[in-house]
Symmetry: D2
């Protein structure tokens, strides 16, 4: 009985790129980290140490910088397609390519009320993401957001759940609800105004989180996903991953004081983790 | 056109447990972090905020401690099964459970050459891992290792690969090969002496890495996987994920010096990432 | 020849507090992490295991929550003084107290253009900090900012420096200058409008970074410090710590391309680190 | 009223070096990260942007690799002196230099019971450290250890401390004591067998932690420091920093179970932090 290669993939991770485009009036700054992964006809590489079909990951890295040098990077959803196409076109042994990107978002520094043309400050804790999956038969474009930390101090309840021998959690109509939203969504077409849509979806996620009376993280997740699908017809499906960043009311009773739902201990571990994919029917 | 829940899962992550078993001669220490995820009949939770089928993640956490209190934890592969079975048995609405565990490994502090009965020092940078996936129809047990950092300063080459317009990497017969091995393997049966087998597989991974002349990360990964499958008949398949922690020869020429393959800059980013699953044929 | 305790300090670190103040129109949210350190008459604790003068760090933690329960937290510079005074008043054995705080800054989620009364989003990557050092003779108040990431793509030079046998860095009149500012400053008086001043100083740091033509990180640091001292008479001295987050021009020449100062590799290590204290003369 | 530079320092941080020495029988591997900081006559750099006295941090980095190329690195305490002397000798404008180093410790991979000549595995979670502070008048050598995680499940008590209105911590004669030791010590002379002494001091720290009945972290810290000073006459003073990594007994009572001091929740925050310097009298 022998062994065989069941699946394999390889590539370069964390290729960091800052691309400055020096316009006449102002500079433009893109700050991204790129991960590349390919699959294909690489069996002999593994089984015989035959490197003839290996595009080195070092060359993948160089290619990111070379393509970024020949044109402005544009939207990450577009740059990802440029990269994926390049690798497919030049490497017949590659069957599919996945390009994942994380973008840090910068704002212009305001100087006397005016945005400065070439000085920037990191603007937001969250990251904009995109992932392109491509084969010769076609490609899919996924956009996303990561590390979007939100909290509501009202209109969040949790009750009516199962009680068993190990239940200690009290029911509540008014708890803190905090989470770090990670969202990914698929576009059904390519001609999307990516930046504007991304900002719009971010806004919808925030608004629906704020406005919704939450009976559970699960319900809120579904409402947020639904709001995005309602507002943006070009979104086919959306995946949300929402850790429950518990804020425990501090027990003041032993100190002779009362906690009027005001004093909380935020914790990182353990944490709930709620995930779902919601799509058009 | 409506929307629908396409898939969902939820649970508790990073439930940290230290379990001391106080034997007559010595204490025994287990130090683990547990992640629990379940899938099942949770559609109404999402769509209607109806929590009647929700086992709170807080109760999942309590259950970990309750079960750890009633018997010694034993091997993580065993404790994971105890947990998975508990959740399936008590929750008809749950279809499948996944229990993931990371264990920190401790050694007894040597005092005058003798291992101390109740004083410990963290022994190794790597982690032991396990994952149990269970449904009512059956379960699979996966064991693993994470963060196993290895380096060889000889018998690693990389040449004969594709050269294109963006190639700059020079071929070499003698480079540093460093990687942080992440491995996961499936057992075909349950009556495995888990600790002994885990230590054995760790040893086989290390030995095969050391002894093998590497033509590429891909080839070495395959050889390491094959060595495990050869040595341990109870392993059905093994997945290895091996980032290439590049060690770049520092360019001493501009300093008027020669680098005789002795002076290197270790880097964390960018890094190659090579992954594969190897299984019995 | 004996041994002696030369110095000692102890306390509690990372006491995380979220304090909600539920106003009629809107909720107010403070999210801080507190570190407490005390020094004093603790020799016997160390040398004899005599705990009679030990205020447990667990009680220090409780005290943070107890004091936060009895009044709104207010500015961190004020809450730090409340804490420091409490520990000094109740613990004659304590000679000095140091309270360090980090505050995460939140913004109200905008809903249809209006700030929501009780839903928040993490607003900025940087942190607001404060440190109170207090003895029975008096106290000093330090405010600060941490993790303020800025970048300018123009008007930064570095030339005219020492060249020796190990120099390879080319001189330049136009490099990227990126840094993560950490600043701490002392107030000469207590009746400062802390939030407004903090925002003002942040603005002055950003503006002076943006507007200044930089001949070196050192010079820019000094200009930024000077701008703060100029604008805010209540600031006695300011300390700036500015790592040089190098953005290396990617060498496109071997790829047959030209880098017109547009394509950069941002790096985390190694990094320059420039620090100074600037004060009134 | 003007402003003035009160103090300043600059240098390069996180210069990572792997140095392979290829002996006939075996390779030797040093894996270190170096931080360099200098102070001196740099006022004009700050105040006038005059770079004539600036040794660029890029050149500092090159110097690390250049000196590592010209001889085996040896002990970090020795390599630090080589670096410090180089910078002082070649830079009259520099008044003092501080070289800080962290070393990752590797072990040879055992192959059939024999240590492999050129294949290594990361051996320990802790780091070996050293710091050289040098002026033209002299220098001091500090060695150290960092991230040494230890735990004892017996012979640790905490009682007899202050009780006040905010006390909730119960007294105990048997708690878990876990800490991550950070230690630094000064050598009174230069001709110390650095590696052997470092291993010896590590052993003394571990043994005294294990054997000592602890009445408090403070007392144990003092005993550990004293044991090092007793055993190693060349150590003048030692600084220990010991966070109390609390292991909270999980409250099983509401679950209808008893915690017989067996089930614990290890926590990272908040944590106690106990620090002291102990020296010869």
């Amino acid at each position: 009985m022998g062994i065989k290669l069941s699946s394999s993939n390889y590539g370069k991770s964390r290729v960091r790129l800052v691309r400055i485009t020096r316009g006449e009036e102002a500079h433009h700054l893109k700050d991204i980290s790129v991960d590349i992964q390919v699959e294909g006809d690489f069996e002999e590489v593994h089984t015989h140490g035959d490197n003839r079909k290996v595009l080195p990951t070092d060359t993948m890295k160089n290619t990111v910088y070379a393509l970024a040098a020949q044109r402005p990077v544009g939207e990450i959803e577009e740059f990802g397609v440029v990269l994926a196409n390049y690798f497919l076109e030049h490497n017949p042994q590659v069957r599919n390519v996945r390009i994942s990107m994380r973008e840090r978002l910068w704002a212009r520094i305001p100087v006397q009320g005016q945005p400065h043309p070439w000085a920037f400050v990191a603007a937001r804790p969250e990251r904009r993401t995109a992932m392109i999956s491509a084969t010769r038969a076609g490609q899919s474009t996924q956009a996303g957001i990561d590390d979007l930390l939100v909290l509501k101090s009202h209109e969040s309840a949790f009750e009516g759940y199962i009680k068993d021998q190990y239940t200690t959690l009290p029911e509540t109509r008014d708890r803190i609800f905090a989470t770090v939203v990670k969202a990914n969504w698929n576009y059904s077409r390519r001609d999307v105004p990516f930046s504007r849509t991304w900002e719009g979806i971010r806004g919808v996620l925030l608004e629906s989180f704020a406005e919704h009376f939450s009976e559970s993280v699960q319900q809120t997740l579904y409402v947020m996903a639904g709001a995005v699908l309602d507002a943006y017809g070009e979104v086919e499906a959306i995946r949300l991953s929402m850790p429950n960043k518990h804020h425990l009311p501090f027990d003041l009773e032993p100190l002779g004081l009362e906690n009027r739902n005001e004093v909380f201990v935020p914790t990182d571990e353990p944490h709930g983790l709620i995930e779902a994919v919601v799509r058009r029917d």
